[in-house]
Symmetry: C2
Subunit: 287 residues, 2 copies
């Protein structure tokens, strides 16, 4: 609806600088398709806290995050909400293959989105096969992120989850540039949202942060600004032994296959949840 009247023009201004061309789906399709997308999409903004798509509503459109943070929320019958996942710039809002939204998408900060109707999307998909590939990638990514969200919660206590989350928020770049520089993390989410994402109460979240501070892993400069004073300590407190995982997480790209957790020690003797103890050494009873 903007000022685009031509068909198959070169990519319009709106898109040329867009994140979706770099890391998002638009970067994976050819020029013609990209300009098709451009002509069928439009931008809009949402204030922090606003509902973007509602659970149970028919899936009539999908969007790409241009800026800000979108949270995926599950509403339960009794009216409370569980934040399941966060979406960053370049990621997709809505589930294009479902008939009805399974979850609610809400703006976690002020958000700018690029919209497309589902009908347009499907037409496009039928027209241009190059989009298929981008699509599969899209899906792979969503699946992986969900898997990651699960991995975040399973087998870690509150402190570990907090540490782990901070660990994932660390800027990925600087093993060389700022080796001993202490990186800072700005927490965009409210305590409530973050607590919900990490599946703990707000109070416990505070205490976890405090403890990380007390133990010297971080330094709280302001409620929403954390300085990571000891990367290694943070990683250890996150029960994260594999240095490489954090890098993986920051790649929001289509490429990141399914590497992720690696290791390999498969002790076939125990499948359990708690994982408080390092390894279950059967107590040498008789001896």
């Amino acid at each position: 609806m903007q000022s685009l009247k031509s068909v198959r023009v070169p990519i319009p201004d709106r898109c040329s600088a867009c994140v979706a061309r770099k890391s998002g789906p638009c970067g994976r399709v050819d020029i013609a398709a990209a300009s098709e997308i451009a002509s069928r999409s439009s931008h809009s903004t949402f204030e922090s806290g606003t509902e973007v798509l509602r659970q149970g509503a028919p899936t009539d459109k999908i969007g790409i995050v241009i800026s800000g943070l979108v949270k995926i929320v599950m509403l339960s019958e009794n009216g409370d909400e569980h934040v399941l996942q966060l979406l960053h710039a370049g990621e997709v809002v809505g589930d294009p293959f479902a008939e009805e939204n399974v979850f609610t998408w809400q703006a976690a900060t002020d958000v700018e989105l690029c919209w497309m109707t589902r009908a347009s999307f499907e037409t496009l998909l039928a027209q241009d096969p190059s989009i298929y590939r981008g699509y599969l990638g899209l899906f792979t990514q969503q699946l992986q992120e969900q898997q990651f969200a699960v991995a975040l919660l399973r087998g870690r206590n509150t402190l570990e989850r907090m540490a782990f989350w901070l660990w994932t928020q660390l800027p990925t770049d600087a093993p060389d540039g700022g080796k001993d520089a202490t990186p800072q993390i700005r927490i965009l989410l409210s305590r409530r949202d973050l607590a919900s994402l990490l599946d703990m109460s707000v109070e416990t979240l505070c205490r976890a942060l405090r403890q990380l501070d007390d133990r010297g892993a971080i330094n709280m400069l302001a409620p929403d600004l954390v300085e990571v004073t000891d990367r290694t300590k943070l990683r250890l407190m996150a029960k994260e032994h594999d240095e490489s995982v954090q890098d993986l997480l920051s790649e929001t790209s289509w490429e990141w296959g399914a590497r992720m957790l690696d290791s390999g020690a498969t002790d076939p003797s125990k499948t359990r949840r708690p994982a408080r103890r390092l390894v279950a050494v059967p107590p040498p009873k008789g001896a």
Copy 2:
């Protein structure tokens, strides 16, 4: 490698009775493609507890469950395992789009699988576009199941999770056939696996079952056989108010869009985890 030498023969015996033709991916492709699949695939069996695909290993093949139960397991560094999901007949083992397996797949019972190398699979995909569609469906399904697994754990205490899981295991058919017949559920999983799936300790799992029995929702006929004496009570104890959800879960089909939880009451005032309280009524302090 079996005794198939012809190309494009009609579907071989091995496939004609296969579950994958009904509910699985093979049912969604045309005859030619199906026979291609048949010629490129082969069966094998795994004993209960055996590893089918290993976390971290390159994704060289994928499979379809013919019979038995396969569990998706996440291994953590410290050596313990978390069961994330179960796969039934007709569902897909392995992640065809990832370079490396993110998780481990293990036989939860004795299992029969239909294998195909990833290379074969990709060739096939390139050859026959009808497969694409089935594939997207496949992915959608996997995504949804993961979402469901999350929904299972979030916002429910141990008893509710136990009840909810049993609820999902109820046979879907009988609103008419066996209205007041008390359905029985055979628990194929070991206590340990089930506990891990539901993210609780084995002991807590036992106690939850006991409590469901004591309160009259179920009747434990044997450790692995549960009789559901009161469907409604079970549903209520599962904090599941929507009657239809259970049906959805049993549809292992490609069709099941993204219906699932519905309701709609969005109280924008609270985003939290615990959900013990029904609705957060702000205490009328002054009045």
